[in-house]
Symmetry: C3
Subunit: 270 residues, 3 copies
Amino acid sequence: MARPIVFLSDFGLDDEFVGICHGVIARIAPDSHVIDLTHGIPPQDMLRAALVLANSVRYAPDEAVYLGVVDPGVGTERRPIAAETASGHLTVGPDNGLFALVWDALGGPVRAVAIESEDVILRPTSATFHGRDVFSPAAAHLATGMPLDRLGPELPPDGLDRVSVPHPAFEQGSIRCRVLGVDRFGNAQLFAKLEHLRVAGLADERVLELRAGGRDEAIRRVATYEEIAQGLGLLVDSSGFLAVVMRGASAAGHLGLVAGDPVVLSSPRG
Amino acid sequence: MARPIVFLSDFGLDDEFVGICHGVIARIAPDSHVIDLTHGIPPQDMLRAALVLANSVRYAPDEAVYLGVVDPGVGTERRPIAAETASGHLTVGPDNGLFALVWDALGGPVRAVAIESEDVILRPTSATFHGRDVFSPAAAHLATGMPLDRLGPELPPDGLDRVSVPHPAFEQGSIRCRVLGVDRFGNAQLFAKLEHLRVAGLADERVLELRAGGRDEAIRRVATYEEIAQGLGLLVDSSGFLAVVMRGASAAGHLGLVAGDPVVLSSPRG
Amino acid sequence: MARPIVFLSDFGLDDEFVGICHGVIARIAPDSHVIDLTHGIPPQDMLRAALVLANSVRYAPDEAVYLGVVDPGVGTERRPIAAETASGHLTVGPDNGLFALVWDALGGPVRAVAIESEDVILRPTSATFHGRDVFSPAAAHLATGMPLDRLGPELPPDGLDRVSVPHPAFEQGSIRCRVLGVDRFGNAQLFAKLEHLRVAGLADERVLELRAGGRDEAIRRVATYEEIAQGLGLLVDSSGFLAVVMRGASAAGHLGLVAGDPVVLSSPRG
C-alpha cells in the first residue's frame, strides 16, 4: 500500500492545476490516498502556507508524504527539494522555507536531496508549473517507496531555506501583531498566541482593548462564541492562535480587517 | 472494507478545515472513501444543509455514514450526537436538527447516542472546531465498524432537535414562499414543490405571475431550458423543488434575488 | 480494480452537484478513483472545457474514463454519448463537441453509442441534471468494465458534434487572437501558440507590441517570471499556449482583460 500524500498549494480550485497534479500522482502511485489539505492559500502567501502545514501534522496520517507548492520562484535557481525529518516524515516542495515550521515540529530535517533524477521529473519540463512536472511526481514516487536518494543529490539539511516568521512586538502592557488570515466566518486570526498575552502581562485581563483599522474597541476574552453577549471576543482558536471573533457575525467585516493588517491588544486600564 | 462517509459542511474550501477533517478520518479509517457532498453551504444555513443532505440519500452508497457539520452552537451545551435510522443509515453531527429531513426520509432515528467517549474525542478539544475533534473521529470510527453505543450514552431518539421548515403560505390562487438558494447558473430554487402548485389550484396554468424583488413578471411553466423562448421559466428542478430559471442567463441576477427572499406565484387572471 | 474516472464540469463547488455525481459513481463503482480535473470551467464555456480536457490526457492514467459535463443543451435533443478512441480511451458526455480535441489527440473516435440503456440511466430522469442521471452512471459502469455497446445503440463516430475552435488571425507581422482564460494569478492565457508567432514572422522578436483593452504596451518574450524586470512578459505556459504575465502581479488586472477579449501581438518596428 502506498503512503498517503497531504497536498497543499495556492493553486485554487477554479483552474485545473490541482486536478492535473492528481492525475500525475495517480499515474505513478494509483493506490496513494491524496488528502487535499487546502488549495486556497492566498497566492504566494508563504507564511500562511507554512503555518497551515505545521498545524496539520497532528491531524494527518503519520506515514504521510507532505507535498507543498507555494512557489513564487518557480523557474528560477531555487531548488526543488525533498527532505526527511527526524520523525521519518517526508516533505516535497521548493527550497523556499515552506516546510520550515513542519520540520521544527518534527525534530528537524535529517536528510535532504535536490529533485533532479530523470526517473522522476517529467520532460519536457515547463518553466511555470513544477507542481506538475517536478513536485507531484517526486511525492508520488516517495509514496510508492522510492528511497529519498534516488530523487537526486544530497544537500546539507542545515542549508535549507526557511520562511521568515514575524513575531509579535511587545510594549509595556501591549502586543502589536498582524492578522494572519480571515476565515470564511469572518474570524480574524492573529499572529499571536496565549503565551504572548502572558509575556505582556495581559493573560489575566477579562477585557482588553483592541486597536485595529483606526478603531478602538473593548474585546472580551472568551472560550466560545456563545459567551459573547455583544461586540468583540478574543479566543484561542483551533490552531492555537488568538482570534478576534463575533457571535454570528464577521469580526473582520466589522473592523475592516484583512490579512496583514496590524492589531494592537492592550490593557483597558492603559 | 470501511463504510464510505458522505461529508457536508459550511466550511468552504478556502481554509484548511475540510482538509484537516479528511486527515483525521484518514488516521482512523484509511480505507474509508470520503465523498464530499458539498462544503459550500452558506455559513450556518441549517435549512439548506438539511435539504441538501435529504436530497442526497438516493444518490449516496446505502452503507454510507453521514457526517454533517453546520454548527452555529459549537462550544455550547448542544450535544454532539450519532444516530441510526430504521434503514440502518448512520448520521453524525450536532444535535441541532441538521439531519431531521434525512431521518424523515429513512424511517426516523431508532437509536441515538451523545458522542462522549474518550476513545473517540480528540484531546485537547477545541471549543470552536468540533468537526475536527468530535465529529470526524466519530464518523471514522463508525465507518470502521465501531458499534454506536461505544461512542457514548444513549439518548431518546424522539428528543433530538429538528430543523424548522418554513412551508409555503397559500392564499386564494397564490403561493408565497422563499428562495432556498441560487446556484452557479443563476437558477433560483424556491422552497415550494409541484404539490404546492396543486393545492393552490395553479398546477394547470401554463403561465403564472411572479412577484419578487419589487417586480411583477409572467413566468412560463417549462420542463427544460430550451422551452423558454424569452423571459422567465418555472421548472421542477433535479431536487424536486420549483426553480425560477432563464435560458442561458441568470434568473436570480435578472430579478435581484438572493437566498431567503420572498416570492409570490399566482394566477395571471388574478 | 475499476478504471479511474477523470471528471470535469462547469458545476462549481458551491453547490452539491459534484458531490451528488460522486455519490452516484460510488454506488456503481465503489473502487473507481475519481480525479476531479476541475469543476471551475466558466458556465457553459465549451471551448475552455475542450482545451482543458485535451491538455489533461498526458497527465491522467492511461486507462481513465473521461467524464465531461458542460451541457448548455441539457434536456434537449442533443444525445448523451460514450465514445472509444483509437487509443482505447473512453469518453462520456453530451454530444456537443466537448471531447473533440481529446479525440484528435488520441487518434479519433472509433466507436460511439448513444447512452439509452435502462440498465444505466437513473429513473426518474431529471430534465436538468443529466450529469447525475445519465453521464455519471454511464462513466461508472464503463469504469467497472461494462462493454460500450451495453450502454445503447451505436452511432457513426464521424457524425459526432465538434466544438468550434477560433484560430488566431494573421496579418502582416501581427496576430489577432482571444484571451482563453485568466488564472488565479492573473496570467492571461491566449488562444495562440508559439507556432503562430512563427507563422507571423514574430518568433525571433525579443520584444513585441501588445494591443489589448485600449492599451498599447511593450511585452517581452520570457521563459520564466523571473526574467521580467518590469512590465509585461509573454511566455509559453504549461499547457503550450502563449500567456501574458507579470512578475508577482496580475497581468489581466493590469490590462483589464477577461476571457474572450481580443489581443493583438505585433512587431514593435511596426
